[in-house]
């Protein structure tokens, strides 16, 4: 069989993520340390795990409504109101998805027609462009820069808009840069969008990991509620990556369309996870605070360390990544990461994995123990000394 003729040409042309090889190499090393993975290092808080277990004990093992258990949708609505002042109706404006990733996928697929352009600020999470492309859209990158704090500026946005632009992805707090968008930044973006028909997919999965003030959602900016699709989830806020729990909120017609895709493709998100998620929302605010404080301490320690070693580093105030510039070493991002891995057995991710504009940077995750961060800084010091 010639599978290249059978398989969808769009899917064939998408390259798999290039990050894997670093981890494959790292796995074979003794004393290897990874500050590469983008997931919390905490296990899910026990009371949340317990709620999942209890639901199994009670025999809640069947499908749920397509949009998710109504109690969960009500709790999501209450959470968004409590923490961000956003109003969404549990009936018709909220759907529970298999992680935030499914949310992004179905949000794109319910809107894109062939040739529609999707604006993707980069460097950013690796999925936006391939998902847009596989949904027949055309990803258009907007480069963000360290001098702008890796924020999306109104100017860059205005320049990227064409008559074909349908969607803007707004990935803040941002993986991999740690950038956040504050209220004024969002207002400037809103000013550009208000007179257009462009929809925003706001990926706010890291919203609880904002270390300066509280997170502001673009959905709360005047005029933006009707043109915003909010994607969020439990993975980062409650350290629940493996439960695959996310949700999408937005105008009822959009959520209706998303529900169709989800209904035929997925049926309903995992039942056990939904029960755990209800517990997270009801009694998990303290867990959020605890983990946030832990990350914030590690963030400051890593940032101080990187700067002390002479690496220029923008102060990321969100997510759990720092994005230092490694230009001073004279190496490309990929060479730096490979050399650092082979010589010092530390995995960090080249900035180029998140778009070409990431050249000259590496992403370092601080969702790791203090001991590992300390050890990585020691190894980095040794590594940099050899390069100089």
């Amino acid at each position: 069989m010639d599978y290249s003729k059978i398989l969808n040409s769009r899917i064939l042309s998408v390259k798999p993520s290039g990050i894997r090889r670093y981890f494959d190499l790292l796995n074979e090393m003794e004393d290897g340390i990874s500050l590469g993975i983008g997931e919390p290092d905490f296990a899910t808080p026990w009371h949340i795990r317990d709620a999942g277990i209890y639901s199994l004990e009670k025999g809640f093992t069947k499908y749920t409504p397509n949009a998710g258990i109504s109690d969960l949708r009500k709790e999501i609505a209450a959470y968004l109101r409590r923490r961000f002042g956003l109003e969404y109706s549990p009936n018709g404006q909220i759907i529970v998805t298999v992680g935030g990733s499914e949310g992004i996928d179905v949000a794109l697929r319910c809107m894109l027609e062939p040739g529609d352009e999707v604006l993707v600020p980069t460097p950013s999470f690796v999925c936006y462009a391939p998902l847009s492309f596989m949904a027949c859209g055309k990803p258009v990158y907007i480069e963000t820069r360290a001098e702008d704090g890796f924020r999306l500026t109104a100017k860059a946005l205005r320049e990227a808009i064409t008559p074909k632009t349908k969607v803007l992805i707004l990935p803040y707090p941002c993986n991999p840069t740690g950038a956040i968008m504050e209220k004024e930044d969002l207002e400037a973006v809103a000013d550009v969008l208000r007179d257009t028909d462009i929809m925003v997919i706001s990926d706010e999965i890291y919203c609880e990991l904002t270390y300066s003030g509280t997170h502001c959602s673009i959905a709360g900016i005047p005029g933006m509620y009707d043109r915003t699709i909010l994607v969020n989830g439990f993975s980062k806020s409650y350290s629940m990556t493996g439960w695959r729990m996310g949700y999408v909120c937005g105008p009822a017609p959009v959520i209706g369309a998303i529900t169709k895709l989800h209904q035929f493709g997925i049926m309903s998100a995992p039942t056990t996870s939904q029960f755990a998620a209800i517990e997270a929302l009801r009694n998990g605010d303290e867990d959020i605070e605890y983990m946030k404080q832990e990350y914030d301490g590690r963030r400051r320690y890593l940032l101080d360390g990187l700067r002390r070693l002479g690496l220029e580093c923008f102060e990321g105030l969100g997510a759990f990544y720092l994005f230092p510039s490694i230009r001073s070493t004279g190496l490309s991002s990929e060479d730096f990461c490979m050399k650092f891995l082979m010589e010092e057995k530390v995995a960090v991710i080249p900035g180029t994995a998140f778009g070409p504009v990431g050249e000259g940077y590496v992403r370092i995750s601080y969702a790791a123990s203090m001991k590992n961060i300390e050890e990585v800084l020691l190894r980095l010091e040794r590594f940099l000394a050899r390069l100089r």
Partner: protein, 159 residues
């Protein structure tokens, strides 16, 4: 930002630089605060948590319930003082409930613990009774789990 004492409670092996970063203070402020805590007797000391089972040495811990006759004027304090003077006593608490003092002691053999109870503890004036419970296995101490669950090896890596 986390309080210095909470940080130390979680991990007292952190150095001043790390503590400072974690608490959002300068190193000087951190040093000064720690000194002040020590001076006030708030910060008493640092102790490692050791899993002696994995180290080649016999190590026995017992919890002893002690009932006492409190003394006029001093209540329980004087008897408590006499008990905690002994090297073997790791911890001593005044309890509510069916007994008065809880003594945690450790020794290198059963015999050593037995001798302590029979010859030292129960002969103290005012001690009216003891009940010794040996600890068979430690699962968790000061929030440290003795044998943490291993994470599964296959991890998702695209992010």
């Amino acid at each position: 930002m986390k309080n210095l004492l909470r940080l130390l409670e979680d991990d007292c092996s952190l150095n001043t630089e790390q503590l400072a970063a974690l608490a959002g203070m300068t190193e000087e402020e951190t040093k000064a605060a720690l000194e002040e805590y020590k001076k006030q007797g708030i910060l008493l000391g640092y102790e490692p948590i050791i899993n002696w089972d994995l180290y080649d040495e016999e190590y026995i811990t017992a919890l002893i319930e002690v009932t006492v006759i409190p003394q006029r004027g001093d209540g329980y304090d004087r008897i408590a003082q006499r008990i905690y003077q002994y090297e073997e006593v790791e911890s001593l608490y005044l309890m509510s409930g069916s007994f008065d003092l809880c003594v945690i002691i450790s020794g290198h053999s059963l015999k050593q613990v037995a001798l302590f109870v029979s010859q030292k503890l129960s002969t103290i004036e005012g001690v009216s009774g003891t009940a010794t419970h040996f600890i068979l296995k430690k699962y968790k101490e000061k929030r440290m789990i003795f044998k943490p669950q291993e994470d599964y090896k296959e991890r998702f890596v695209l992010d």
